[in-house]
């Protein structure tokens, strides 16, 4: 047996400010569930910019069960600036600098750094790269396009910003900036309802492709793979390009080719190794020590003529 919530009163804000709680009218009185719903409602308020919103739910048991929802909205905050704080150690001068990764600046990443136009203290980082195949978060995409969340003029949602920064860091590394780090955002709230966000950023060195080798199969097959890969030692390492090259080799040569990469000691170099099917799949797929293999095969890959 259970009781029914006969009434929900919202005090301090319109009922539609907390619809999640307002619809509890007529439902089963379940205090634990009400608490979870209250947390959701509070998150929703904050995602709409009410960063200082407070919410308290009290139960009345006289004349049936009633809920009193006390809401304090507070100011509606908007982001005034997002800056990348690269600090003194990072001048963006490593190799050609982080802004030259070749990634397209879409102006729409929810990481927002490239389209804030306010990167006063640091280096503007590129937005998300196209063509990596990573799934697109519909909410992020929606709000990026609308400029409503984690962009200048939009509201700030910390967990989403952190998630976006993690993704940006991953993409940055995939573009050859293997030492790139993006720290937790630091926020300052102002009385005029604005927020300033600073993101600690370190670019580090940009890595190039070291050696390109092929192992397994016959010498002819290995040469064919290396030629098909079309990678060149000395080029900047670019994850999507390397993966595309492997895919191309698999397709063109119609055989199993696996990719293995390893950082070459202290140098900003990534050695790329194409492991080929020898006809014995088990042998080909075994996990040998990459560094040992590289040490014995550290020969420059034959290069195709550049166009």
């Amino acid at each position: 047996m259970f009781n029914r919530i006969s009434e929900v009163q919202v005090i301090g804000a319109p009922r539609d400010a907390v619809p999640q709680l307002a619809v509890l009218e007529g439902t089963v009185d379940d205090p634990d569930r009400t608490e979870r719903v209250a947390q959701l409602a509070l998150r929703d308020l904050r995602s709409r910019g009410y960063a200082a919103a407070r919410l308290a739910v009290s139960r009345r048991t006289r004349c049936g069960i009633g809920l009193d929802v006390h809401v304090t909205l507070g100011p509606r905050y908007r982001i005034a600036s997002i800056t990348f704080d690269t600090g003194a150690s990072n001048t963006g001068a490593s190799d050609t600098g982080p802004s030259n990764t070749g990634a397209s600046n879409t102006g729409a990443s929810n990481t927002g750094p490239s389209n804030t136009g306010t990167s006063g203290t640091g280096t503007s980082l590129p937005g998300r790269e196209a063509g990596t195949g990573a799934p697109i978060d519909p909410l992020a995409a929606l709000e990026d396009s609308l400029g409503t969340v984690n962009t200048v003029g939009g509201v700030y949602i910390e967990y989403r910003m952190k998630r976006a920064l993690t993704e940006l860091e991953r993409r940055y590394r995939d573009a050859g900036w293997l030492e790139a780090t993006l720290g937790a955002p630091r926020t300052r709230y102002f009385a005029d309802g604005t927020i300033a966000i600073a993101i600690p950023a370190t670019a580090g060195r940009r890595f190039r492709i070291g050696s390109i080798t092929a192992v397994g199969a016959s010498p002819t097959a290995r040469a064919a793979v290396l030629q098909t890969l079309g990678l060149h030692a000395g080029d900047y390492y670019d994850g999507p390009s390397v993966r595309t090259a492997i895919e191309r080799a698999r397709k063109k040569l119609d055989r199993w080719v696996e990719l293995r990469t390893a950082i070459a000691g202290d140098r900003p170099r990534v050695d790329v190794e194409a492991i080929m099917d020898t006809g014995n799949t088990g042998d080909a797929r075994d996990t040998r020590d990459t560094r040992d293999t590289r040490a014995t095969r550290d020969t420059p890959a034959p290069r195709e003529p550049r166009p």
């Binding site: 009922r15 999640q20 979870r36 102006g107 729409a108 998300r128 697109i136 519909p138 990026d144 396009s145």
Partner: protein
Amino acid sequence: MIARAPRTARRIAAVAVAAIAGLSGCAPPASYLGATLPQPCAAHDVEGCLGWMVERDLSEAELGLYGDTALRDYVQGIADRLATGSLLPHAPRIVITDHDGTYATSGSRIVIARPTIQRLDSEAELAGVIAHELAHIEGHHAVVSLFGPPPDADPLLLRRDAEAIADERAVALLERAGYSPSAMARALRAVLDSEDEEHPLRADRIAHVAVLAGHRTGFEGRAELLAHLDHMVAGHDSRLGHRVGDTWVIAALGVALDLEAGDVIRGTHDVLVVRRGRATLAFYPIGAPWAREIAASLTDRASETRRLGRITIGTMPGPDTPHPAGGAAGNGAGDAAGDGAGDGAGDAAGGPAGDAIGDADAATPVGKLARAVRSTLPQPLAGTRVALLERPHGALVIELSGRTLPELALRDATADELAAAEPARIVIEHAIRAGAAADALICEGRLLDDPRRRVAAGEPLKCADRALDAHELALDFIATAAP
């Protein structure tokens, strides 16, 4: 949603993402699935834009709308009545689909499945289903399912909370609108036939709403519902077609496939799979605008116009493959889909995808969004060999797999075949004697009501105008062509 809808999540995501494409300030596209984006999209009215796109997706990508205006108006009237007791300023718009899956979606839309309506016994029960979805809209629950909860929350727990709240709130909405609150329990009993982790247990849901309803009574409206169900299509999704003798007829596209001895036909939700020898082919109809986008994106594609329609054959690209600038010669797979006249080389299919969203530069936000949109609409998996047959009212997708490609001998369906492939419809008949519906001496073998239902003499009952085949009764079916 009351029960899990196969494509709900994908569709919601598609709509959300599609809306973005339209709303993006830097975006060139002004159309979505062949139609110009409406004013709400241009005016950054996200909700209005999303709602429009939901319907566009259902009609132009999935061929899924059930176009009975009178029925829609009737169901809309029920929603209007329920909304007066809700927190909403106006009633959600009702959209009726021809396939399973009832759910609330962004844009203040309630999508209700025709097969769901068929299972209900009174207007009050239908109101219960609508009230459940309306409560989701009232409580902004779609935001949870669309965008996902924050990482520190238990999504399933939140999902189950939302479903339980919608059930319970529906009882209150029914009562406020003058409907019998106890109809909610009956509605759940009628439409729930499986468990899933996103919903509380079926038995718990029914017990909760029954207790909440107590013994309060209200308007039932069985006769009102049945009057509106008269002549409604009966059975499951009719888009995949019907078997007529040794032929499979897809009436929606006017296409017939002659079955051969040993063919195995299997229907699973929205795909018809035919196994012929060592080949397996999957068929499903889609809307023409979406078909054109898919056709233009195929790699190694070749197309030609035959008596049956334009056929494009190619390989479905991966999600990151940009639209190719032009086509390439076929590889002979053309024999599989046509009448045997062509060799698949045909005329190379170049040209644009037809819709600006699909053509957007992959490096732009719109391009990325376009990929996301494409990934959510019905389409072959990446790498699949595909034949697309364009017909006047849509297109047939044929996914080709297996080591050999058989001759399919697709052809225009004859008038007789189309008549025979007409879906069964509901007819309302009246019990000749009191007792269980099964013993009411009417519509033997065609009864659509619960056979255990107690009826009085003269009471109306739902029957089909003909006996339903197995594939019309079940979402999953398997059939073998006789030698």
